[in-house]
Symmetry: C3
Subunit: 435 residues, 3 copies
């Protein structure tokens, strides 16, 4: 069996995880302290509301739930990949929030800096990009590859975010462009480089949901859906801006749900609803309203954006994803292009229209267009380069027949509790090569 399918992680995975964590501790020892310690500059100029008060803390916790429970459970829809979805999601986010804290702090301060609630929110945000990309390559990569992707993607993200906010002075309060579109296209670029012709011929046996895995995924969907107003408002200016971000996101998501249900029924066999659409497309309204969330777009404007996002997302799942897999040789496991990619682009375009209509005077159409362009550009270039590094056949990626299967990297419960459920007449083709 080829070297690339040596999936035994005993040496390389612990070595890499420990090395990275020790590096974080050392970096934090030199560069990171508490806000207002005297020795440190503040992470972000505290608005009145957040100075040592807990006002932003509930919003941080909502975002925290989205990152760990939302993203984690959303990806448990695969019948045999729940451990990895929720477990590796936790690992990615735990490393990512440390690296994101460091990268964003250093870029904005160039020296020692202090932590406050807002920097914790930004740290959580930075992990979202990797979790979105994780969705594109879910089931086809190893935990070692994901550790590498965390470091590379968050570095590129932090640079692009700095560029968009500090240099281009664009606005993207809910991060439609710098997180959602960025994470999706970065992940698609990685998935393209890592494309496996062997998975192309037919849908992989494991790449399916079962009844209860679809219910677990709904836990993720709902916590993302419910807390999205917090995501889009968490770092908004206190007062009217933050209020509008909450209200607009609330109504955009509501409108998106109705259109996602309607179009799911329209495009499916006999008008039935498809769980993939309900799990994902209902969230597109949260993504798409992100950039404009704190602008005076009015509730009905938010609902229009959400409606369009819901429609585009369902149509993307139905018609684009298959084309991507076959024609473009990009296999997008979770369909992040439809949940984060297209709605993120819609969010950027919506902000250009909103500026044109006078919904804000904090930015210009050109700034917004430039922000969208650089976000897509850095995502694709960064993703391609990252994909090339991940393609080096030493990171323990799974062989084709073991894709989407926890048992490659996890101890899984024995037959009567596991295989029994899924493969009563298991042909044992899923056994690991070494066995």
């Amino acid at each position: 069996m080829p070297l690339s399918f040596e999936t035994n992680m005993r040496l390389k995975f612990p070595f890499m995880a420990i090395s990275l964590q020790l590096s974080m501790i050392i970096l934090f020892g030199f560069f990171v302290g508490y806000e207002n310690d005297g020795n440190y500059v503040q992470q972000i100029n505290a608005t009145n509301q957040s100075e040592k008060s807990l006002e932003l803390y509930p919003l941080f916790q909502d975002v925290h739930v989205m990152i760990f429970t939302g993203f984690g459970f959303l990806m448990t829809f695969l019948k045999k990949y729940g451990f990895s979805s929720v477990g590796i999601n936790l690992m990615i986010a735990a490393l990512g929030l440390q690296w994101g804290t460091f990268m964003q702090g250093i870029l904005h301060h160039h020296k020692k800096f202090g932590i406050d609630i807002k920097s914790m929110i930004n740290a959580d945000f930075s992990t979202a990009t990797v979790l979105i990309s994780f969705g594109a390559v879910l089931g086809k990569t190893s935990p070692v590859q994901m550790l590498i992707m965390v470091i590379l993607e968050i570095s590129v993200f932090a640079a692009n975010e700095y560029l968009v906010v500090e240099i281009l002075e664009a606005t993207d309060i809910g991060a439609s462009m710098v997180i959602h579109a960025f994470g999706a296209y970065f992940g698609l670029a990685v998935a393209g480089v890592l494309y496996r012709p062997g998975l192309r011929r037919r849908r992989h046996d494991n790449e399916q949901s079962v009844y209860y895995s679809d219910l677990f995924a709904m836990i993720g969907t709902l916590f993302l859906w419910m807390f999205w107003p917090s995501f889009n408002s968490a770092i908004a200016d206190a007062g009217d801006h933050q209020y509008r971000a909450i209200v607009n996101t609330y109504f955009s998501l509501a409108a998106c749900v109705l259109f996602a249900f309607a179009f799911s029924s329209l495009v499916e066999h006999r008008g039935k609803l498809d769980m993939v659409h309900i799990q994902n497309a209902t969230l597109a309204g949260g993504v798409a309203v992100g950039t404009c969330a704190d602008m005076e777009i009015q509730p009905f404007g938010a609902m229009l954006i959400g409606s369009i996002a819901g429609i585009v997302s369902v149509l993307g799942f139905k018609f684009l994803t298959p084309v991507f897999a076959t024609k473009l040789r990009i296999h997008d496991t979770c369909g992040v292009h439809n949940l984060h990619g297209l709605p993120g682009v819609i969010g950027g375009i919506a902000s250009i229209v909103a500026v044109a209509l006078g919904a804000t005077n904090k930015t210009t159409m050109a700034n917004q267009a430039a922000a969208l362009g650089t976000s897509l550009g850095t995502a694709i270039v960064g993703g391609l380069l990252t994909g090339l590094i991940l393609k080096i056949p030493i990171w323990g990626e799974p062989p084709d027949q073991n894709c989407y299967d926890d048992s490659v990297y996890w101890e899984v419960p024995e037959v009567e509790g596991y295989s029994h459920y899924f493969h009563e007449h298991d042909d044992h083709s899923q056994l690991q090569p070494e066995a």
Copy 2:
């Protein structure tokens, strides 16, 4: 096969969902803006605490979790109806919060109005009535029927709420009467009109839980239980009233749990506990203490109310629900009468006693009794009329043999992941008529 069992939703469901959502966007365009925009009157006179601060936002988010995760997962106890429970719950609430925002805003302002956190809480509240009624008819109705019920029930709810609060000047801070009793009796009235003799003879094969579906339901139970203090205090006056609503609900629920466990064991075979009681009756204390939640009833008074509610709820599940199904020809799928109906009435009665004992001077015994009476009356009349409309045989309701089965309206995973779980020797009697 009769017209009424044409369950193909391709045309009518998308058409209705899209029409309703477009109507919402148009209504919001004309009538709804942001609070304090200058162009709009305020939704509710802001207390000092809520003026553009985020103090109420965490309470809103707790209520939001109750509506979407709490109600949604509570109903996943049926073995084959989890997609509908959590999915249609999302659809109902997404439409309901828009319609509730509009109806309540127009009734209270008669003109353009603005959105703030409190109006979002009230919008979420209004959806709760429909979700309670949904529980009574769960498994026996189509998504199209539920869209209709959202519009009709929230209209009646908003009218009754206006009557109770503005005209009768009664108090019902935790909405025992105007939400819980109202939603339950409305749903029972609908269920009565839609009664299916064919489901009467014996318990439907699908109307059962399996082991893991009962665990999913506990997700719903716990999030409802934990956040109920937020539900009962979210729109209370800031300060002492809000504090009391939190404290009273906390202790009422705790006492309710012990009595629900004790009585479940008392009435069941060999003293065993019944998951139906644990999932539902443990919550009755939150319902029953609602109307009195912000009154000075003292913690032990709250515990008494919770205790009574827990007992009544278990006894209701054990003895009343079967009688309702057989004698009254009202089949209450989730037993909402025991969780919301009876405890809601207890809540109203408790408030009359509390007024008599001097726990509040904000209302009178007559006002409270009138509020209880009108809530029950409008619920039953509204439910009967709604039931008649839903009975028109064009809304795609499922035939008897396909009740409580997601596969009528949803794409469900294939045999090895679905039927395999539930019906190893499936007699295929569950297949859709068209198949």
Copy 3:
């Protein structure tokens, strides 16, 4: 069959539950009111921030979620014991929070006292000790025994907490010692007294997870992990102390995750990850940083503590737990020694080091060492005495062959939904003795 295996709970369980709940109502009637009622002393001197504001309420709700959803679902990993895990967890916590409110209030005030958010947080905290001990005896005890343990353990806990805080004047803001180490060693002492040689020979058939029960357990893990910063900061002094408790816990947990993953892979067969470690050891960083959470240990110091805790916890699960079961005759079902015991002790020791390094001047090394010693001592003595009481063979504990099986105390769904899942060729050895 022997008296001790009479598991019919019809008489004793309801009788005890009702008696205890009525006692609580009576005690509350005499001793408990609202804060600032005039008639009552305040529970705790309110800091400016918490006086009738809701600032602490979101932290309370986070802790509340940890207690009910976090602990409840964390224990659902056993394939046949999910109802008990999440259900009896609810019952324990509901009784415990009432008894904890009373015990802590009386100890600190010696007379009538009032409830505020902080006392609700402390009440929830007190239940955590019992829930930790519950983990040690999970599957081997009856609900009646758990009711008794609630009353006894919280009494001892409240006495020890009073001793540590008021007499020794030690600091333990995140309760590494007074809750985590205390709860673990109390539970281990109970488990030692209740040791069953019959369960020793081989791993019990039921003492295993299945695929989906491990996913349910991850719901518990994640909600504990995400909200741990709230647990460690909820009763900290407002301002810098509370901020530091949040920041330190956030980073300690993140570092802990990486080391837990790395060491899980290091010690397992072929470098695979073990769900037991991911579910539990990833949380050890929250426990261990507890005592020092509000001290100026710097983020990298918190990360060091979390790293050590993650390593020790995984090694404990792998090497210590089997030794405990065979050599010490202490069978620790959930491995609470590795999640709460050892990390709790690490937390106490870390605080001694932190004092030595000047990270705080609120306590001394001697005070901290004394607090650790008394916490361990009272836990072990209290646990041994409680174990002796629970060993009296009248509390309906399950016979060996029915351990870890919900069907002893719960109505469980019929064959096709339950046994079918787990035991296609069930040998019926699991049937209850009476059957």
